[in-house]
């Protein structure tokens, strides 16, 4: 019986090659992308799940309130560590995490790598297994270091790294005490090396911080004791920082399970608003939609062909088949077809994956050896086949043999309306996706075109070091002498980041008890010139004024917050220091390009800088300029390899997620409309074939090609327009919701919907027309004689 079904299925496919191709190809593309999205979701949800203790790990977060804004942060003060260690027995282990980029030298090799300074518990809390060394003791000695396997190989080649020494930042000698497996891709915590936090206590800044409850710069992860409640501890530690600070500033600690870190890392008004999980939800829905569109094609083309299949149904019934057997037959047939499509889709995935490299799929692989993956894929395949085959099976098997064998069966109005409804559904999804894509890109462009308050082009950032700081003036002069460099400045943070946020400023007229926070940038001369910051009032720091070491620049947001009508010459206090306002600069977008600019202050300091800004002259040839800068920098900064970042590229990285979403959405929108058109193409081809005789008669009676074209295409165009009308409010609602997360956002414009609808109509019309015109041009005599 089964064999007979497969035979019929296979030959039916072979005899209707065109249709079979449309069916299978459409289904394969749909499945390929649904599978890709599935793999992506699997990857994204696998983050941080490889830790044995994953259920007992949590990150400490903090709700804060400054400038009347509610924020949620991960940075915590240093003294929190001892407090938690001492007084909270429900904590089994605890680690501070401080990350940074450091230079490592061993023999002739030098690298600049990202390291984490962590506590000795770290290697036992997390499942980052050591291939050499002992996890329990590797981080006990303050001068020890644990390398990842690939860094160990890079530094020492094939030699045993244990016990070897490394020079850190050209200054400190540390000894390798362990080698860890490379951090897996799906880890939120990433590092090239680990070093004991105890190492840091040699720095005054850290020593001083031991009593500072208001100095937030460390991340904390706790491991709960078995059987202790994370929720209870979260509640218990809530007031801890406030009790210690006693200054009335709202600071509420809480725990977030580590496993939620990757997907739920956004907070708004102290409430978790999701994060990546939103995209997972969105794309799961879209993935299902794409698959649905492909299934609809299958249903549509199968039922359209039903008049032919009807005869087979009649005969099979006449020779004794029961309806249930026919349903089984058609379902088996569609599962079989789906399986062929599935095999093709795996091929397509291999083809598509490289193209999706920059859309968030770079870490995603199809692992051919993964049995559970195959099992789940096969399940999806069978379910898809059953869904795609369900309607044709029920519909076809319901035919009454008497009618079909007599040839009186005409497709019912219901069947035809159902097909039209499916076409409308397909185009609703397609148009909706087009609208979403356009709006995502509009929003990205909106934020990119925003006035940044500085000029990111032709601007380099080079990480500072002790050497470079020492040799700063000589290095700067040498760079300027090359002729390629217009200006150089040293600064405490790159233009695309905020590293200091201070809250203890006061000024005349400040509302008593008001809790404020300012982003702080520390720099010396030439910062405004190098960054291209526009000064709206007053002046920048100048060598001409001796008093400038106590001068301060404020941005317009700060001016508004402070409230001075005439800010120049006014005083701002910080602890016992006094700063005189000498200028007001335009707001600089250093944080999110989608948010309003925070109040910022620029302080004069040449000891707290960590980055060098280098502005190239606009006429300079980039390659030549870099070749000129490299040896000079290496000369003054021998411990570090020459590395630099372009500020405009760094700014561009702020759009990473948005760009990925936009690209993915546009691919999916294109795909949706392509698969829909594939179905439409088959459907019109079929309709035209069925109506050959009618078209012939109409032609004989004098209908023009244009008349006939209208007759055959008009209906589909109407369907697409209906789809547009349904899609528009849905897409509007969806995108309105998406835009809510951005303070700095576009308002959705009507023309987007018109454009998407028009585009869909145009594409559909083109698809339908090729068939319609072909039918209209056919020789009527031939088609009539064929009767």
């Amino acid at each position: 019986m089964l064999k007979n079904y497969f035979k019929t299925a296979w030959r039916s496919l072979r005899q209707n090659k065109g249709l079979a191709f449309l069916n299978i190809f459409g289904l394969a593309i749909g499945m390929a992308f649904a599978l890709l999205i599935g793999l992506w979701i699997q990857y994204e949800t696998s983050f941080d799940t490889f830790h044995k203790n994953k259920d007992r790990l949590a990150i400490i977060r903090k709700h804060t309130k400054f400038n009347n804004q509610k924020n949620t942060a991960v940075s915590q003060p240093l003294p929190l560590y001892d407090e938690l260690k001492r007084n909270y027995p429900e904590i089994k282990r605890l680690s501070r995490i401080d990350d940074g980029t450091y230079s490592l030298m061993a023999g002739n090799s030098k690298f600049s790598k990202t390291g984490l300074y962590v506590d000795a518990d770290f290697l036992q809390m997390f499942s980052f297994p050591l291939v050499h060394g002992n996890a329990a003791t590797a981080l006990n000695d303050p001068n020890s270091i644990v390398l990842t396997e690939s860094l160990a190989i890079a530094l020492f080649g094939k030699e045993d790294p244990i016990g070897k020494t490394i020079k850190l930042d050209n200054q400190y000698t540390v000894q390798v005490s362990g080698v860890a497996k490379d951090v897996p891709d799906n880890s939120s915590i990433t590092f090239d090396f680990l070093a004991p936090y105890a190492f840091k206590f040699r720095f005054n800044r850290i020593k001083n911080a031991q009593t500072q409850w208001g100095n937030n710069f460390l991340m904390y992860i706790v491991e709960m004791k078995e059987g202790s409640s994370m929720q209870a501890l979260s509640k218990k530690i809530e007031p801890l920082v406030m009790q210690k600070r006693k200054d009335g500033i709202t600071q509420l600690l809480f725990l977030q399970p580590l496993q939620q870190w990757h997907l739920y890392n956004e907070y708004k008004e102290w409430a978790n608003t999701g994060g990546k999980i939103e995209y997972i939800r969105l794309f799961s829905i879209i993935g299902i939609f794409i698959l649905l569109i492909a299934c609809i094609n299958f249903m549509n083309l199968s039922t359209a062909r039903s008049e032919k299949r009807a005869k087979e149904v009649g005969i099979r019934k006449a020779v004794g088949s029961r309806r249930i057997q026919l349903i089984a037959q058609f379902l088996i047939e569609s599962v079989f077809t789906t399986f062929v499509a599935f095999l093709l889709s795996i091929l397509l995935i291999q083809l598509f994956l490289p193209l999706l490299h920059d859309s968030g799929f770079d870490k995603i692989r199809f692992r051919f050896g993964d049995v559970s993956l195959w099992a789940s894929l096969l399940t999806v395949c069978i379910i898809t086949g059953l869904i795609a085959g369900s309607y044709p099976a029920l519909y076809l098997s319901s035919f009454i043999p008497v009618k079909v064998l007599k040839g009186t069966l005409k497709q019912g109005v219901a069947a035809i309306s159902f097909r039209k409804a499916l076409v409308v559904l397909q185009f609703t999804i397609s148009i909706g996706l087009i609208v979403c894509t356009v709006i995502v890109f509009q929003q990205i462009k909106h934020a990119k075109d925003r006035n940044l308050g500085y000029n990111p082009n032709n601007l380099l950032t080079i990480a500072s070091s002790n050497d470079l700081q020492k040799n700063y003036e000589a290095w700067k002069q040498d760079l300027l002498n090359t002729g390629y460099v217009e200006s150089v400045a040293q600064v405490s943070s790159p233009l695309t980041e905020v590293r200091n946020s201070w809250s203890d400023f006061t000024w005349q007229g400040k509302t008593p008890g008001a809790i404020t926070s300012f982003d702080v940038v520390m720099t010396d001369w030439d910062y405004e010139k190098t960054a291209g910051i526009k000064i709206s009032k007053g002046r920048g720091f100048s060598r001409a004024y001796k008093t400038d070491s106590n001068a301060i620049l404020i941005n317009e947001a700060a001016e508004k917050l402070i409230g001075y009508k005439e800010p120049l010459g006014k005083i701002i206090n910080w602890n016992d220091e006094q700063f005189t306002i000498i200028g007001v600069v335009q707001d600089m977008v250093m944080r999110s390009p989608f948010k309003p600019v925070s109040p910022s202050l620029i302080l004069f300091s040449n000891t707290n800088t960590s980055e060098m800004l280098v502005r190239l002259s606009t006429s300079a040839d980039l390659a030549k300029a870099l070749t000129a800068i490299q040896p000079i920098t290496e000369k003054y900064n021998p411990a570090l390899p020459f590395e630099y970042k372009f500020v405009d590229e760094e700014f561009g990285k702020k759009f990473l997620i948005e760009n990925q979403v936009g690209k993915l959405a546009s691919i999916l929108a294109g795909l949706a409309i392509f698969i829909s058109c594939l179905g439409l193409f088959g459907l019109t081809a079929f309709m035209a074939e069925r109506r050959t005789k009618e078209i012939g008669i109409r032609k004989v009676l004098g209908a023009s090609v244009a008349n006939l074209w209208l007759l055959l295409s008009g209906e589909f165009v109407l369907l697409v327009i209906i789809a547009g009308l349904i899609a528009s409010p849905l897409a509007f609602w969806l995108m309105q919701d998406w835009l809510q997360q951005y303070n700095y956002r576009i308002s959705i414009q009507g023309w987007v919907f018109v454009l998407a609808g028009f585009l869909a109509v145009l594409i559909a019309l083109f698809t339908v027309s090729t068939q319609a015109i072909k039918a209209a041009l056919a020789d009527p005599v031939k088609s009539l004689r064929s009767e």
Binding site: G314, I315, K317, R322
Partner: protein, 225 residues
């Protein structure tokens, strides 16, 4: 074998009500060869379809081998049909995707005959119908006469007690038509009951008895001698 009494079949569409069968009563004995004649639209096919359990009557009684089958459900009808009844249609009604052999094999598959046995029986009947040499061809590669021989082969492969033929020669020229008629006669002589709808007086002469219908009723019966 067949005993129908006051059988009614009414087709209702939105505008009209067609009485296809109007309280018709017919008896057919085992081994008989009955021809049904009448003008187009008088209800011949409707009758045949009800006899073949492809369609159910609105009223009346239908005894098949003394069992009332008028209101059998789908499952029971399929069961009865596949073991007892073979069909031959005017338009052959072969499945285009299956070969001659596979078309004929189909009823055996549905009655659950084992593969080896199926092969034997299909080959036997194809041999008898003299189309063995065409066993691996598809229907579209055959002439009308050959296709109808395949259809007859398919109708008899299960050794049904009853064969229903609706204008089996309607689409054939006279020599092919005669060939099909002699096949049916042979089957009848071997004991199969045959009920055949035809427009041809010539074909009707092969039967034992002619039932003439008009407007859903029998109007005359001729016993052939």
């Amino acid at each position: 074998m067949i005993k129908i009494r006051d059988l009614e079949k009414i087709y209702r569409t939105e505008e009209v009500e067609t009485v296809a069968l109007n309280k018709i009563s017919i008896d057919v004995k085992e081994g008989e060869f009955v021809a049904i004649m009448g003008p187009s639209g008088c209800g011949k096919s409707t009758l045949l379809n009800i006899l073949g359990l492809l369609d159910d009557p609105d009223n009346g009684s239908f005894l098949f081998n003394n069992i009332e089958v008028a209101h059998f459900n789908e499952r029971k009808r399929a069961e009865l049909r596949k073991h007892n009844i073979g069909f031959v249609f005017q338009s052959f009604n072969l499945i285009d995707e299956l070969t001659v052999f596979e078309n004929v094999e189909l009823p055996l598959i549905y009655t659950g005959v084992k593969s080896g046995e199926r092969k034997k029986r299909v080959e036997e009947v194809l041999d008898k119908m003299q189309i063995m040499h065409r066993r691996n061809h598809y229907p579209q590669q055959l002439s009308g006469g050959q296709q109808q021989r395949v259809a007859v082969a398919r109708a008899v492969v299960n050794n049904p007690k009853l064969i229903l033929a609706d204008e089996p020669t309607g689409n054939l020229d006279s020599s092919n038509g005669n060939e099909v008629m002699s096949l049916l006669t042979d089957l009848n002589e071997q004991g199969t009951t045959i009920i055949m709808v035809t427009h041809s007086e010539h074909d009707a002469r092969y039967s034992h008895r002619i039932i003439r219908m008009l407007d859903g009723q029998t109007v005359l019966e001729n016993i052939m001698v």
